[in-house]
Amino acid sequence: MIKTIIVTHHTLADNLIETAEIIVGKSEHLTGIGIAENGDIETVRKRLVEMIKKFKKDGHKILILTDMFGGTPSNICLALYEPGKVEIVSGVNLPIVLKLASWLKDENQDLKEIAAKITECGRKNIFTAAEFLDL
């Protein structure tokens, strides 16, 4: 099974998950970690490492979603990348979280494939009104 950890600045991770759960219902596969303005990044790193260790011990693979490439959450997570075991996608948005909540119900997902699909989903869900409304 794939476990998803969303790692962001401030409270965005928890807000994204709460919002997604209002729309598609509770998901036991999503966990949020927010890095506070004055947060100790070492503490966050250790918490992440522990969480990943536990998930791996339980036989899960891990998908990490971060909010912005180059930001502290992303910088911390990139060091935890393990091809095929811990995959990382940066630039999380609500469509991604919604899609994941439903995809992760299927237990036989391939982690690399999910990471690629979710990246495409995030990109494809950004539009200008003009694309639809300009006649």
């Binding site: 600045h9 303005e37 004055n38 947060g39 100790d40 990044i41 070492e42 912005m68 490439f69 180059g70 930001g71 502290t72 992303s74 910088n75 990139l78 060091a79």
Partner: protein, 164 residues
Amino acid sequence: MKRLLFRVDDRLIHGQIIAAWVPYIRATRIIVADDQLPQNEMLSKILRLAAPTNIRVEILPIRQAVALIEQQRSGPGLFTIMLFAGLDKVVQALAAGLTLTELNIGNIRNAPGKLQVSDSISLDRKEIEDLKVLQAQEIQISIQPVPTAPVIDLMALLQRKGLL
């Protein structure tokens, strides 16, 4: 308009730097001055990746970083952000010959036993001593997380809090 920024930030290259300071300074170069980091390939690689692709990132031991900035202080295409992970590294840079009149303090992490002096800055005794060393060199030390935030005089703030 400032074209050179010296900043203490334990997150080094991160969101505030790339999204706010780089466009403000119109920086083309980020120098990270640190004696340990150049040996850590993985972390160095991540930091390089964190910067926008049109920014040159130099991760150098303090002595070399100081030599580089003193040699090429500014000039066309050399708008620079110089980052230090901690106050002790600034003190070392001064000893290595850095000319410094203004220092921006971004993030200094909290930890047990440290005193939180602003949203993003917590200090221990040693760090307050480092600040006094910098103050003695008549360096203007300010808290300013991002360019749009008000500039706060850190030493005046510490004075008011009775920490000096």
